[in-house]
Amino acid sequence: MHAALRAILRPLPLAVPSLWLALLVAAPLLVVLVLAFAWPAESVPPIAPPWGAEGPNTEPFALVLEDSFYHAAFAQAALVAAGTAALCLLLGFPMAMGLARARPAWRLPLLMAVLLPFWTGFLPRLGAWIGLLRDEGWVNTVLQSLGLITDPLPLLYSWPALFLGMAHAYLPFAVLPLYASLSRRDPAMEEAAADLGATPWAVFRTVTLPLAAPGAAAAFLLVFIPAAGEYVIPELLGPPGAQLVGRVLWQEFFQNRDWPVAAALAVLLLLALLLPILLFQRLEARR
Protein backbone atom coordinates (compact mmCIF):
# COMPACT_ATOMS: atom_id res chain seq x y z
CA MET A 1 0.00 0.00 0.00
CA HIS A 2 2.54 2.62 1.10
CA ALA A 3 5.19 0.89 -0.99
CA ALA A 4 6.36 4.11 -2.61
CA LEU A 5 6.48 5.96 0.69
CA ARG A 6 8.31 3.08 2.29
CA ALA A 7 10.86 3.04 -0.50
CA ILE A 8 11.62 6.68 0.27
CA LEU A 9 11.63 6.36 4.06
CA ARG A 10 13.51 3.11 4.50
CA PRO A 11 17.01 4.36 3.57
CA LEU A 12 16.67 7.56 5.63
CA PRO A 13 17.90 6.27 9.03
CA LEU A 14 21.19 5.37 7.40
CA ALA A 15 21.34 8.08 4.75
CA VAL A 16 20.81 11.12 6.98
CA PRO A 17 23.59 10.43 9.51
CA SER A 18 25.87 9.25 6.69
CA LEU A 19 25.37 12.49 4.81
CA TRP A 20 25.94 14.50 7.97
CA LEU A 21 29.15 12.64 8.80
CA ALA A 22 30.39 13.04 5.24
CA LEU A 23 29.64 16.76 5.13
CA LEU A 24 30.61 17.89 8.64
CA VAL A 25 33.23 15.39 9.76
CA ALA A 26 34.92 13.88 6.71
CA ALA A 27 34.78 16.92 4.43
CA PRO A 28 36.31 19.40 6.95
CA LEU A 29 39.24 17.04 7.55
CA LEU A 30 39.83 16.79 3.80
CA VAL A 31 39.51 20.54 3.44
CA VAL A 32 42.05 21.22 6.17
CA LEU A 33 44.46 18.85 4.45
CA VAL A 34 43.95 20.52 1.06
CA LEU A 35 44.18 24.06 2.42
CA ALA A 36 47.47 23.25 4.14
CA PHE A 37 48.79 23.57 0.58
CA ALA A 38 47.06 26.91 -0.02
CA TRP A 39 48.73 30.31 -0.30
CA PRO A 40 48.39 33.07 2.26
CA ALA A 41 46.84 36.16 0.67
CA GLU A 42 46.03 39.78 1.47
CA SER A 43 42.32 39.25 1.06
CA VAL A 44 39.21 38.15 2.90
CA PRO A 45 39.48 35.24 3.59
CA PRO A 46 43.29 35.54 3.70
CA ILE A 47 43.88 32.52 1.56
CA ALA A 48 44.36 31.63 -2.12
CA PRO A 49 43.50 28.07 -3.14
CA PRO A 50 46.22 25.55 -4.04
CA TRP A 51 44.61 24.90 -7.42
CA GLY A 52 45.35 28.43 -8.71
CA ALA A 53 48.01 29.40 -11.23
CA GLU A 54 50.80 29.01 -8.70
CA GLY A 55 49.96 25.40 -7.94
CA PRO A 56 50.08 23.89 -4.45
CA ASN A 57 52.13 25.62 -1.77
CA THR A 58 54.49 23.26 0.05
CA GLU A 59 55.89 26.11 2.16
CA PRO A 60 53.59 25.64 5.23
CA PHE A 61 54.48 21.97 5.73
CA ALA A 62 58.15 22.66 5.04
CA LEU A 63 58.13 25.47 7.57
CA VAL A 64 56.37 23.48 10.27
CA LEU A 65 58.55 20.43 9.73
CA GLU A 66 61.83 22.33 9.67
CA ASP A 67 61.51 25.23 12.11
CA SER A 68 62.57 24.30 15.62
CA PHE A 69 59.91 26.64 17.05
CA TYR A 70 57.22 24.25 15.82
CA HIS A 71 59.19 21.19 16.92
CA ALA A 72 59.26 22.68 20.40
CA ALA A 73 55.50 23.30 20.21
CA PHE A 74 54.84 19.61 19.56
CA ALA A 75 57.37 18.49 22.17
CA GLN A 76 55.86 20.80 24.80
CA ALA A 77 52.35 19.60 24.00
CA ALA A 78 53.44 15.97 24.33
CA LEU A 79 55.22 16.64 27.62
CA VAL A 80 52.38 18.68 29.09
CA ALA A 81 49.80 16.09 28.00
CA ALA A 82 51.86 13.22 29.42
CA GLY A 83 52.53 15.13 32.63
CA THR A 84 48.85 16.00 33.00
CA ALA A 85 47.83 12.40 32.37
CA ALA A 86 50.36 11.13 34.93
CA LEU A 87 49.18 13.70 37.46
CA CYS A 88 45.55 12.72 36.87
CA LEU A 89 46.37 9.02 37.32
CA LEU A 90 48.23 9.75 40.53
CA LEU A 91 45.33 11.78 41.93
CA GLY A 92 42.59 9.74 40.28
CA PHE A 93 43.62 6.23 41.23
CA PRO A 94 43.03 6.57 44.98
CA MET A 95 39.82 8.45 44.22
CA ALA A 96 38.56 5.68 41.96
CA MET A 97 39.51 3.11 44.58
CA GLY A 98 37.67 5.09 47.22
CA LEU A 99 34.61 5.23 44.97
CA ALA A 100 34.73 1.53 44.16
CA ARG A 101 35.11 0.65 47.85
CA ALA A 102 32.39 2.98 49.07
CA ARG A 103 29.13 1.49 50.27
CA PRO A 104 26.74 1.07 47.31
CA ALA A 105 24.33 3.68 48.63
CA TRP A 106 27.16 6.23 48.72
CA ARG A 107 28.54 5.55 45.27
CA LEU A 108 26.19 7.62 43.16
CA PRO A 109 26.32 10.71 45.43
CA LEU A 110 30.13 10.48 45.56
CA LEU A 111 30.27 10.12 41.79
CA MET A 112 28.10 13.20 41.48
CA ALA A 113 30.47 15.00 43.86
CA VAL A 114 33.31 14.21 41.45
CA LEU A 115 31.36 15.46 38.46
CA LEU A 116 29.42 18.41 39.84
CA PRO A 117 32.32 20.92 39.96
CA PHE A 118 32.42 20.54 36.20
CA TRP A 119 28.98 21.95 35.84
CA THR A 120 30.22 25.38 36.95
CA GLY A 121 31.61 25.79 33.48
CA PHE A 122 35.13 25.38 32.23
CA LEU A 123 36.02 29.08 32.09
CA PRO A 124 34.67 30.15 35.50
CA ARG A 125 36.71 27.34 37.06
CA LEU A 126 39.82 28.71 35.38
CA GLY A 127 38.76 32.10 36.66
CA ALA A 128 38.73 30.68 40.14
CA TRP A 129 42.29 29.43 39.72
CA ILE A 130 43.34 32.85 38.49
CA GLY A 131 41.70 34.37 41.55
CA LEU A 132 43.51 31.94 43.80
CA LEU A 133 46.94 32.27 42.27
CA ARG A 134 47.32 35.88 41.15
CA ASP A 135 49.59 38.30 43.05
CA GLU A 136 46.74 39.83 45.07
CA GLY A 137 44.87 36.50 45.06
CA TRP A 138 43.62 34.35 47.87
CA VAL A 139 46.73 32.20 48.37
CA ASN A 140 49.11 35.13 48.50
CA THR A 141 46.75 37.11 50.74
CA VAL A 142 46.52 34.24 53.20
CA LEU A 143 50.27 33.66 53.21
CA GLN A 144 50.93 37.36 53.71
CA SER A 145 48.43 37.76 56.51
CA LEU A 146 50.05 34.78 58.25
CA GLY A 147 53.35 36.58 57.95
CA LEU A 148 54.99 33.76 56.02
CA ILE A 149 55.90 35.95 53.07
CA THR A 150 56.20 39.69 52.56
CA ASP A 151 56.10 39.98 48.76
CA PRO A 152 53.52 38.00 46.81
CA LEU A 153 54.78 34.82 45.13
CA PRO A 154 54.52 34.82 41.32
CA LEU A 155 52.15 31.85 41.21
CA LEU A 156 50.03 32.68 38.17
CA TYR A 157 51.37 32.39 34.60
CA SER A 158 53.79 29.64 35.62
CA TRP A 159 54.29 25.98 34.78
CA PRO A 160 52.88 24.81 38.15
CA ALA A 161 49.76 26.91 37.54
CA LEU A 162 49.45 25.38 34.08
CA PHE A 163 49.66 21.83 35.41
CA LEU A 164 47.31 22.61 38.31
CA GLY A 165 44.70 23.92 35.90
CA MET A 166 45.18 21.01 33.50
CA ALA A 167 44.91 18.41 36.28
CA HIS A 168 41.81 20.10 37.64
CA ALA A 169 40.14 20.17 34.24
CA TYR A 170 41.01 16.61 33.20
CA LEU A 171 40.80 14.70 36.49
CA PRO A 172 37.30 13.25 35.87
CA PHE A 173 38.47 11.86 32.51
CA ALA A 174 40.84 9.67 34.55
CA VAL A 175 38.59 8.92 37.52
CA LEU A 176 35.65 7.61 35.50
CA PRO A 177 37.41 4.87 33.47
CA LEU A 178 39.48 3.86 36.51
CA TYR A 179 36.34 3.61 38.60
CA ALA A 180 34.62 1.62 35.86
CA SER A 181 37.42 -0.91 35.67
CA LEU A 182 37.87 -1.15 39.45
CA SER A 183 34.19 -1.55 40.26
CA ARG A 184 33.66 -4.19 37.62
CA ARG A 185 35.88 -6.73 39.28
CA ASP A 186 35.39 -9.13 42.12
CA PRO A 187 36.43 -7.59 45.47
CA ALA A 188 37.06 -11.12 46.72
CA MET A 189 40.30 -11.16 44.74
CA GLU A 190 42.04 -8.82 47.15
CA GLU A 191 40.62 -10.80 50.03
CA ALA A 192 41.93 -14.00 48.47
CA ALA A 193 45.40 -12.45 48.20
CA ALA A 194 45.25 -11.32 51.83
CA ASP A 195 44.03 -14.77 52.83
CA LEU A 196 47.05 -16.27 51.07
CA GLY A 197 49.35 -14.18 53.25
CA ALA A 198 49.92 -10.98 51.26
CA THR A 199 50.51 -7.79 53.24
CA PRO A 200 48.33 -4.79 52.27
CA TRP A 201 51.16 -3.34 50.19
CA ALA A 202 51.77 -6.72 48.53
CA VAL A 203 48.04 -7.03 47.78
CA PHE A 204 48.10 -3.63 46.11
CA ARG A 205 51.26 -4.37 44.15
CA THR A 206 50.44 -7.91 43.05
CA VAL A 207 46.65 -7.83 42.61
CA THR A 208 45.05 -4.39 42.61
CA LEU A 209 47.58 -2.66 40.36
CA PRO A 210 48.01 -5.35 37.66
CA LEU A 211 44.25 -5.80 37.39
CA ALA A 212 43.75 -2.05 37.07
CA ALA A 213 46.50 -1.67 34.45
CA PRO A 214 44.26 -1.75 31.34
CA GLY A 215 41.87 0.73 32.97
CA ALA A 216 44.82 2.93 33.94
CA ALA A 217 46.19 2.84 30.39
CA ALA A 218 42.78 3.83 29.05
CA ALA A 219 42.55 6.64 31.60
CA PHE A 220 46.02 7.89 30.67
CA LEU A 221 45.12 8.07 26.98
CA LEU A 222 41.71 9.57 27.68
CA VAL A 223 43.48 12.50 29.37
CA PHE A 224 46.47 12.61 27.00
CA ILE A 225 44.47 12.86 23.76
CA PRO A 226 42.40 15.97 24.52
CA ALA A 227 45.16 17.55 26.63
CA ALA A 228 47.63 17.44 23.74
CA GLY A 229 45.60 19.96 21.75
CA GLU A 230 44.65 22.20 24.69
CA TYR A 231 44.67 25.93 24.03
CA VAL A 232 42.67 27.72 26.71
CA ILE A 233 44.48 26.58 29.88
CA PRO A 234 48.04 27.37 28.69
CA GLU A 235 46.73 30.71 27.48
CA LEU A 236 45.08 31.67 30.77
CA LEU A 237 47.35 30.07 33.38
CA GLY A 238 50.63 29.17 31.69
CA PRO A 239 53.85 31.17 31.35
CA PRO A 240 54.48 33.08 28.10
CA GLY A 241 57.04 30.42 27.23
CA ALA A 242 54.38 27.68 27.20
CA GLN A 243 54.00 27.64 23.42
CA LEU A 244 52.06 24.40 23.05
CA VAL A 245 50.93 23.37 19.61
CA GLY A 246 47.30 24.28 20.31
CA ARG A 247 48.31 27.78 21.34
CA VAL A 248 50.68 28.14 18.37
CA LEU A 249 47.95 27.03 15.97
CA TRP A 250 45.59 29.60 17.48
CA GLN A 251 48.15 32.36 17.13
CA GLU A 252 48.97 31.46 13.53
CA PHE A 253 45.29 31.61 12.74
CA PHE A 254 44.04 34.59 14.76
CA GLN A 255 47.12 36.79 15.19
CA ASN A 256 49.30 36.04 12.15
CA ARG A 257 46.33 35.32 9.89
CA ASP A 258 48.43 32.58 8.30
CA TRP A 259 45.72 30.02 7.60
CA PRO A 260 47.85 27.57 5.58
CA VAL A 261 50.38 27.19 8.38
CA ALA A 262 47.53 26.73 10.90
CA ALA A 263 46.07 24.04 8.63
CA ALA A 264 49.45 22.31 8.32
CA LEU A 265 49.75 22.34 12.12
CA ALA A 266 46.25 20.86 12.44
CA VAL A 267 47.10 18.05 10.01
CA LEU A 268 50.33 17.22 11.82
CA LEU A 269 48.65 17.38 15.24
CA LEU A 270 46.02 14.95 13.99
CA LEU A 271 48.68 12.60 12.60
CA ALA A 272 50.61 12.77 15.87
CA LEU A 273 47.45 11.86 17.80
CA LEU A 274 46.61 8.94 15.52
CA LEU A 275 48.85 6.54 17.45
CA PRO A 276 47.40 7.26 20.92
CA ILE A 277 43.89 7.23 19.44
CA LEU A 278 44.39 3.82 17.81
CA LEU A 279 45.99 2.54 21.01
CA PHE A 280 42.96 3.72 22.97
CA GLN A 281 40.56 2.02 20.58
CA ARG A 282 42.50 -1.25 20.84
CA LEU A 283 42.24 -1.03 24.63
CA GLU A 284 38.52 -0.34 24.49
CA ALA A 285 37.89 -3.15 22.01
CA ARG A 286 39.67 -5.64 24.24
CA ARG A 287 37.45 -4.85 27.22
Binding site: P28, L99, G137, V232, A266, I277
Partner: protein, 269 residues
Protein backbone atom coordinates in the same frame (compact mmCIF):
# COMPACT_ATOMS: atom_id res chain seq x y z
CA UNK B 1 34.70 -2.62 52.81
CA UNK B 2 37.73 -4.86 52.30
CA UNK B 3 38.90 -4.12 55.81
CA UNK B 4 41.14 -7.14 55.87
CA UNK B 5 43.41 -5.94 53.09
CA UNK B 6 44.05 -2.55 54.65
CA UNK B 7 43.51 -0.61 51.42
CA UNK B 8 40.18 0.88 52.41
CA UNK B 9 41.57 3.66 54.61
CA UNK B 10 44.10 4.83 52.04
CA UNK B 11 41.49 4.84 49.32
CA UNK B 12 39.07 6.84 51.45
CA UNK B 13 41.78 9.38 52.25
CA UNK B 14 42.65 9.63 48.55
CA UNK B 15 39.03 10.20 47.65
CA UNK B 16 38.65 12.95 50.24
CA UNK B 17 41.84 14.72 49.09
CA UNK B 18 40.79 14.47 45.45
CA UNK B 19 37.34 15.84 46.17
CA UNK B 20 38.94 18.66 48.16
CA UNK B 21 41.14 19.54 45.18
CA UNK B 22 38.14 19.51 42.84
CA UNK B 23 35.87 21.51 45.11
CA UNK B 24 38.21 24.06 46.70
CA UNK B 25 38.31 26.56 43.82
CA UNK B 26 34.63 26.08 43.12
CA UNK B 27 33.61 26.75 46.73
CA UNK B 28 35.89 29.77 47.07
CA UNK B 29 34.52 31.11 43.82
CA UNK B 30 30.95 30.65 44.93
CA UNK B 31 31.61 32.28 48.30
CA UNK B 32 33.46 35.31 46.97
CA UNK B 33 30.81 35.95 44.34
CA UNK B 34 28.83 37.46 47.23
CA UNK B 35 31.69 39.67 48.36
CA UNK B 36 31.35 43.41 48.01
CA UNK B 37 35.06 43.97 47.38
CA UNK B 38 36.22 45.20 44.00
CA UNK B 39 39.27 42.97 44.18
CA UNK B 40 38.25 39.43 43.40
CA UNK B 41 38.77 36.85 46.16
CA UNK B 42 39.00 39.45 48.89
CA UNK B 43 36.13 39.62 51.31
CA UNK B 44 34.37 42.95 51.38
CA UNK B 45 31.17 42.07 53.19
CA UNK B 46 28.11 40.37 51.77
CA UNK B 47 26.83 41.99 48.62
CA UNK B 48 24.87 41.17 45.52
CA UNK B 49 26.46 44.00 43.54
CA UNK B 50 28.19 41.65 41.06
CA UNK B 51 24.93 40.00 40.22
CA UNK B 52 23.45 43.44 39.65
CA UNK B 53 26.45 44.33 37.48
CA UNK B 54 25.85 41.21 35.44
CA UNK B 55 22.26 42.22 34.84
CA UNK B 56 23.43 45.53 33.42
CA UNK B 57 26.17 44.17 31.20
CA UNK B 58 24.44 44.39 27.80
CA UNK B 59 27.23 42.66 25.91
CA UNK B 60 27.22 39.75 28.30
CA UNK B 61 23.46 39.38 28.29
CA UNK B 62 23.37 39.43 24.52
CA UNK B 63 26.07 36.77 24.36
CA UNK B 64 24.23 34.67 26.94
CA UNK B 65 21.05 34.84 24.89
CA UNK B 66 22.92 33.76 21.76
CA UNK B 67 24.62 30.92 23.65
CA UNK B 68 21.32 29.72 25.01
CA UNK B 69 19.70 29.65 21.57
CA UNK B 70 22.70 27.91 20.02
CA UNK B 71 22.83 25.36 22.85
CA UNK B 72 19.11 24.59 22.61
CA UNK B 73 19.22 24.23 18.84
CA UNK B 74 22.45 22.28 18.63
CA UNK B 75 21.49 19.88 21.45
CA UNK B 76 18.19 19.13 19.75
CA UNK B 77 19.83 18.58 16.38
CA UNK B 78 22.54 16.49 18.06
CA UNK B 79 19.90 14.20 19.58
CA UNK B 80 18.23 13.62 16.21
CA UNK B 81 21.48 12.92 14.39
CA UNK B 82 23.31 11.19 17.22
CA UNK B 83 20.27 9.04 18.00
CA UNK B 84 20.11 7.88 14.39
CA UNK B 85 23.88 7.30 14.36
CA UNK B 86 23.78 5.28 17.58
CA UNK B 87 20.90 3.24 16.23
CA UNK B 88 22.78 2.53 13.00
CA UNK B 89 25.85 1.42 14.95
CA UNK B 90 23.93 -0.80 17.36
CA UNK B 91 21.09 -2.17 15.28
CA UNK B 92 21.46 -1.60 11.56
CA UNK B 93 23.62 -4.71 11.01
CA UNK B 94 26.37 -4.88 8.41
CA UNK B 95 26.44 -2.50 5.46
CA UNK B 96 29.09 -1.26 3.08
CA UNK B 97 31.28 1.38 4.69
CA UNK B 98 30.24 0.51 8.24
CA UNK B 99 33.83 0.73 9.50
CA UNK B 100 34.27 4.19 8.01
CA UNK B 101 30.89 5.23 9.40
CA UNK B 102 32.00 4.16 12.88
CA UNK B 103 35.32 6.02 12.62
CA UNK B 104 33.65 9.24 11.44
CA UNK B 105 30.94 8.97 14.11
CA UNK B 106 33.61 8.78 16.83
CA UNK B 107 36.04 11.28 15.33
CA UNK B 108 34.62 14.43 16.99
CA UNK B 109 35.20 12.77 20.38
CA UNK B 110 38.95 12.52 19.88
CA UNK B 111 39.75 15.47 17.61
CA UNK B 112 41.33 18.40 19.48
CA UNK B 113 39.07 21.46 19.62
CA UNK B 114 41.54 23.55 17.63
CA UNK B 115 41.54 20.99 14.81
CA UNK B 116 37.76 20.64 14.88
CA UNK B 117 37.27 24.41 14.90
CA UNK B 118 39.79 25.18 12.19
CA UNK B 119 38.65 22.42 9.85
CA UNK B 120 34.97 23.33 10.18
CA UNK B 121 35.78 27.00 9.61
CA UNK B 122 37.78 26.21 6.47
CA UNK B 123 34.88 24.10 5.21
CA UNK B 124 32.39 26.92 5.83
CA UNK B 125 34.67 29.42 4.08
CA UNK B 126 35.11 27.11 1.11
CA UNK B 127 31.39 26.38 0.94
CA UNK B 128 30.54 30.06 1.03
CA UNK B 129 33.00 30.75 -1.77
CA UNK B 130 31.54 27.98 -3.89
CA UNK B 131 27.80 28.22 -3.16
CA UNK B 132 27.22 31.43 -1.27
CA UNK B 133 26.06 29.44 1.76
CA UNK B 134 26.54 29.91 4.69
CA UNK B 135 26.50 33.66 4.09
CA UNK B 136 28.94 34.86 6.72
CA UNK B 137 29.48 33.12 10.00
CA UNK B 138 27.65 33.37 13.30
CA UNK B 139 24.85 31.60 15.11
CA UNK B 140 24.18 29.14 12.29
CA UNK B 141 27.75 27.97 11.84
CA UNK B 142 28.29 27.67 15.60
CA UNK B 143 25.08 25.68 15.87
CA UNK B 144 26.15 23.28 13.11
CA UNK B 145 29.60 22.83 14.66
CA UNK B 146 28.19 22.19 18.14
CA UNK B 147 25.55 19.82 16.79
CA UNK B 148 28.29 17.81 15.08
CA UNK B 149 30.29 17.47 18.29
CA UNK B 150 27.19 16.85 20.42
CA UNK B 151 25.89 14.21 18.01
CA UNK B 152 29.05 12.17 18.52
CA UNK B 153 28.40 12.11 22.29
CA UNK B 154 24.71 11.30 21.87
CA UNK B 155 25.64 8.48 19.47
CA UNK B 156 27.96 6.91 22.05
CA UNK B 157 25.27 7.04 24.76
CA UNK B 158 22.51 5.76 22.47
CA UNK B 159 24.67 2.96 21.13
CA UNK B 160 25.69 1.88 24.64
CA UNK B 161 22.06 1.92 25.73
CA UNK B 162 20.90 -0.16 22.76
CA UNK B 163 23.82 -2.56 23.21
CA UNK B 164 22.56 -3.47 26.66
CA UNK B 165 18.99 -3.94 25.46
CA UNK B 166 18.53 -7.41 23.97
CA UNK B 167 17.63 -7.32 20.25
CA UNK B 168 15.06 -9.92 21.22
CA UNK B 169 12.85 -7.09 22.48
CA UNK B 170 12.39 -5.80 18.95
CA UNK B 171 12.01 -9.37 17.71
CA UNK B 172 9.29 -9.99 20.28
CA UNK B 173 7.47 -6.90 19.00
CA UNK B 174 7.76 -8.15 15.42
CA UNK B 175 6.54 -11.58 16.49
CA UNK B 176 3.50 -10.01 18.13
CA UNK B 177 2.52 -8.31 14.90
CA UNK B 178 4.40 -5.01 14.79
CA UNK B 179 5.95 -3.92 11.49
CA UNK B 180 9.50 -2.49 11.51
CA UNK B 181 8.36 1.13 11.96
CA UNK B 182 5.82 0.24 14.67
CA UNK B 183 8.39 -1.88 16.51
CA UNK B 184 10.78 1.08 16.43
CA UNK B 185 8.19 3.56 17.66
CA UNK B 186 6.71 1.36 20.40
CA UNK B 187 9.81 -0.46 21.68
CA UNK B 188 13.17 0.85 20.43
CA UNK B 189 12.48 4.55 20.83
CA UNK B 190 11.04 4.36 24.38
CA UNK B 191 14.04 2.25 25.38
CA UNK B 192 16.46 4.79 23.89
CA UNK B 193 14.68 7.73 25.50
CA UNK B 194 16.75 7.98 28.72
CA UNK B 195 20.01 7.93 26.78
CA UNK B 196 18.66 10.56 24.39
CA UNK B 197 17.65 12.76 27.33
CA UNK B 198 21.09 12.37 28.93
CA UNK B 199 22.66 13.02 25.53
CA UNK B 200 20.65 16.19 25.07
CA UNK B 201 21.82 17.52 28.44
CA UNK B 202 25.42 16.64 27.62
CA UNK B 203 25.29 18.28 24.20
CA UNK B 204 23.62 21.33 25.75
CA UNK B 205 26.38 21.75 28.35
CA UNK B 206 29.15 21.10 25.83
CA UNK B 207 27.73 23.85 23.66
CA UNK B 208 27.43 26.29 26.58
CA UNK B 209 31.01 25.51 27.66
CA UNK B 210 32.80 25.70 24.34
CA UNK B 211 35.05 28.63 23.56
CA UNK B 212 37.58 27.24 21.08
CA UNK B 213 35.38 25.82 18.32
CA UNK B 214 32.95 28.72 18.61
CA UNK B 215 35.80 31.24 18.28
CA UNK B 216 36.92 29.62 15.03
CA UNK B 217 33.54 29.26 13.34
CA UNK B 218 31.86 32.49 14.48
CA UNK B 219 32.05 35.79 12.75
CA UNK B 220 31.81 39.34 14.07
CA UNK B 221 28.06 38.88 14.59
CA UNK B 222 28.32 35.80 16.77
CA UNK B 223 29.90 36.26 20.18
CA UNK B 224 28.89 33.55 22.61
CA UNK B 225 28.95 33.75 26.38
CA UNK B 226 32.15 31.70 26.77
CA UNK B 227 33.85 33.96 24.22
CA UNK B 228 32.95 37.02 26.32
CA UNK B 229 34.04 35.33 29.55
CA UNK B 230 37.30 34.25 27.91
CA UNK B 231 38.15 37.80 26.91
CA UNK B 232 37.21 39.02 30.41
CA UNK B 233 39.59 36.47 31.95
CA UNK B 234 42.35 37.39 29.54
CA UNK B 235 42.10 41.04 30.50
CA UNK B 236 42.15 40.26 34.18
CA UNK B 237 39.38 38.77 36.17
CA UNK B 238 36.38 40.75 37.25
CA UNK B 239 34.19 39.50 40.06
CA UNK B 240 31.30 39.39 37.60
CA UNK B 241 32.71 36.11 36.34
CA UNK B 242 32.35 34.69 39.85
CA UNK B 243 28.72 35.76 39.97
CA UNK B 244 28.16 34.27 36.56
CA UNK B 245 29.72 30.99 37.71
CA UNK B 246 27.31 30.88 40.64
CA UNK B 247 24.37 31.28 38.30
CA UNK B 248 25.76 28.56 36.02
CA UNK B 249 26.35 26.33 39.05
CA UNK B 250 22.78 26.81 40.21
CA UNK B 251 21.44 26.02 36.75
CA UNK B 252 23.83 23.09 36.45
CA UNK B 253 22.73 21.78 39.83
CA UNK B 254 19.21 21.82 38.46
CA UNK B 255 20.36 20.10 35.27
CA UNK B 256 22.40 17.59 37.26
CA UNK B 257 19.35 16.80 39.35
CA UNK B 258 17.36 16.22 36.20
CA UNK B 259 20.13 14.03 34.80
CA UNK B 260 20.16 12.05 38.04
CA UNK B 261 16.42 11.50 37.73
CA UNK B 262 16.88 10.45 34.09
CA UNK B 263 19.59 8.00 35.14
CA UNK B 264 17.41 6.58 37.87
CA UNK B 265 14.67 6.11 35.28
CA UNK B 266 17.21 4.48 33.01
CA UNK B 267 18.32 2.06 35.67
CA UNK B 268 14.79 1.05 36.57
CA UNK B 269 14.13 -0.11 33.03
Amino acid sequence: MSRGTGQGGMARLGLMLGLGFLWLPVLLLAGYAFSGSRIPFQWGGFSLRWFAALAENERLLEAAWLSLRVALGSATLAVLLGGATGWVLARRGPFRGRALFGVLAGAPLVLPDVVMGLSLLLLFVLLEGATGWPAGRGATTILLAHATIGAAYVAVLAQARLAEMAPELEEAARDLGAGPATAFATVTLPLMAPSLAAGWLLAFTLSLDDVVVASFVSGPAGTTLPMVVFSMLRLGLTPEVNALAVIILALAGLGGGLALLAMRGLRSL
